[in-house]
Symmetry: D2
Subunit: 256 residues, 4 copies
């Protein structure tokens, strides 16, 4: 096998519920981003270096240097989307287009970065009703679905329902049902520029979803899928003018 | 508006349950294909000439001439897939590739024609359990979804569940949930050759689904979408050898 | 056939080259937007009411009322993208998500509205070199390709080449080659929110492309495809909270 | 990094031109399948065990046991498609649906297996005219495109042109142009059942394409992409009847 450098993974958390709300504190004593990061470390082992950053850090922990050193960024936000600085949003957006993997989770469907990448409202139906969520695989050949039970059962979860206003995904990997009868395209891939994006809806501050081994498996798979071992591309914001194409390689037909 | 000739629509029915089983006879006294055809006539009016054909007819009612005069073929079969003559299967397949619209319904996922068009097993999970089916629209801009409630409610229906072994569709229009918690990609479009295909899973011999106005709306929309007003193409079974491309149109730049 | 109201079509032009540059003035004495509009009127007849608007008009001719009365908006811009008011951009974006058809042409790949809808840089390669462009159909069942020659020949045209940084389209309809050997995905559809988008690259201020009958055919087809006869949707910018789903329709199984 | 077993790769060759025609013998003294296999061994190293099989072998070298031990099958055929036994075709088809990677090359677009998997005619335009082919990447995030020049230049090659009658691919990776002005979707992925398919058109018996390092890079990437490290699935040819879904995992909400 070809040796491969460890993936550099950054789990970003808004860190709001963890400071203010009792239920999330009880369910996620190590914070949500901390719990997600621990799951990735457990499954990816030496294959990844996993760190965390939060809204509270300087530049939200997302400086130009930090992003340049990040292969895959996971994002959890909910109550404080508006508090994310527009300059940081522009920066993350640019790095995704340049090749950084991006994995928005659950309520991050309304994060500024995701909305900007999608170009749509990203709105959906929801209900806090202790629904059981069943996550069904509809793309069994997809790397993100490997080792994931069919269905993956989440005993209690917030309901997210269609119509979810995002572009048709490149690949629809998971579709969920909820006790109330709703359905949701819960796992979708999108390529944008040179970057790969996986939106995954399960996970909420009020339910222990990120402790489930099956969910951790999905997230570890997603990191591996979103990772690209090549230099970050500089997104072109002007057109690329080219001269007449020069054939750089010739064959004189000599073998014939 | 441009005047358009009426669409020539053919509803094909296996006509087995209608002859042998009591419940279907009570629910569909005019047969399933007859009921489907009546719904189309009601909604499409002068825009379509709707006829029916069955397995019992000579050549199953699908002679070369009949197919050549058909713009859109709807197909309902269940118990007698194997009884469909392979020559007729080849013929229908060829006409779909040549531009005839094709709308397989429910258990027609296992019809020989559909399997041949998909190239996969077309298998799925199922349960006869009086589930309630909710049909949700995930492509609200699609012509087939126009005027369809969100969700469309089918009070009782056979359950069809994922994984449904078909290729990823060109467009995913509807996703259903069932009382048991299963999900199903219940409305999908596929283009094959010069023909347009819409698979729609609701509808069963034991439930009055084809009497529902909302279901009739979907089927009428689907016929309109699958219809193409142009001559049937002859599918090429050999490659098309071409000489050096001759530019058929020149501009001398004289306006400059 | 169901009677249908005429489509309300608006062709928007930047109107810069028409005022300042000699070649465009000679090729398009009636302006580019005027020429495009004339082609649509010719082909769509009573089926459409076609108007024009330009950057110079108050609110660029794109007031809230005007957009509310527009079914399909075509957009040609090149040198003055930055001059388009951000409030108008937001407004057009909102109407597209609400269901208005949108057809950006050629250099409008860099228009603010298109970039916002795509979420990517929308950059590409280009060369002003009097290339011959051949437009090949790769989706022969698509309504936009009906009646379009294969290939459609543009004797001279600016070269646009890959990589074109847009999301993978819902449907790839046309692929072009250029004399220099480049290729370009020249006709692509995208659904965003409740709106349908068709990007079409042929057409430039220095070549008489919009006078070609085949190009006019594509544009008329595209208008028909992007048109949706239903009320404009208000894009939701907040999530839609729903209570427990209430089955609105019951069947007591009485036919059985 | 997780240790991974070597991929078991089988390169299948029709081996007809190698026995009968002078030019292919001069260009491919080690046969075409031998040359392709050598390129894979060079690039994949210990990561793969690469073997070859031909039409002449018993059961064409594709016994049930051999296929069960194959992770990815590459296929080159041209003149002898009809000589491939239907039983073997059925067997290969079944293994692809069960998870075996499948990479049909060039004229294998007309192989029985590929036609069966696609469900269409798989016809195309062609011309033997010493065209220069340029292979452009339109999906830069795709693993198969990593390390591939943009464009990849093939100095002389048979022309394959659109319309190529296959279903819309899951992912369009490469688009080629030819000197004559034609275009071709030259690299496309398809998932069918549990298997991953990559069709790649460059490569011909009369040109030294499979000696080019860039082409070898594409093929090695494609093998890695098509490989899935999991047990072969038995394709279901009957529906899977399921009872009422039993929630296998409960959470009593105790953390709350």
């Amino acid at each position: 096998m070809t040796a491969q450098r460890p993936m550099r993974v950054l789990v970003w958390g808004e860190n709001h519920h963890e400071k203010h709300d009792e239920i999330p504190q009880r369910i996620y004593p190590d914070t949500m981003h901390g719990t997600i990061a621990a799951g990735l470390r457990e499954l990816l082992g030496d294959g990844a270096v996993v760190e965390t950053a939060t809204l509270d850090d300087p530049e939200h922990g997302l400086s130009e240097e930090r992003l340049a050193d990040t292969d895959v960024l996971l994002w959890w936000g909910h109550m404080r989307h508006d508090a994310v600085d527009d300059e940081v949003v522009e920066r993350v957006h640019r790095h995704v287009l340049g090749g950084m993997g991006f994995i928005p989770l659950h309520s991050a469907h309304f994060s500024k970065v995701f909305i900007r990448l999608m170009g749509t409202t990203c709105s959906l139906r929801w209900r806090q009703g202790d629904d059981r969520e069943l996550v069904w695989t509809v793309a069994p050949t997809h790397p993100i679905a490997q080792g994931v039970p069919h269905p993956l059962v989440i005993p209690m979860q917030e309901m997210y329902g269609e119509f979810f206003d995002v572009p048709a995904p490149d690949e629809l990997v998971f579709v969920s049902s909820f006790s109330g009868g709703e359905v949701f395209r819960s796992g979708m891939t999108f390529s944008r520029g040179h970057g790969r994006i996986f939106y995954f809806s399960p996970g909420d501050q009020d339910y222990p979803v990120y402790h489930q081994p099956e969910i951790r498996r999905v997230l570890a798979n997603a990191v591996g899928w979103a990772f690209q071992d090549r230099p970050r591309q500089a997104p072109q914001i002007t057109m690329h003018h080219v001269g007449e194409f020069e054939t750089p390689r010739e064959w004189d037909g000599s073998l014939r």
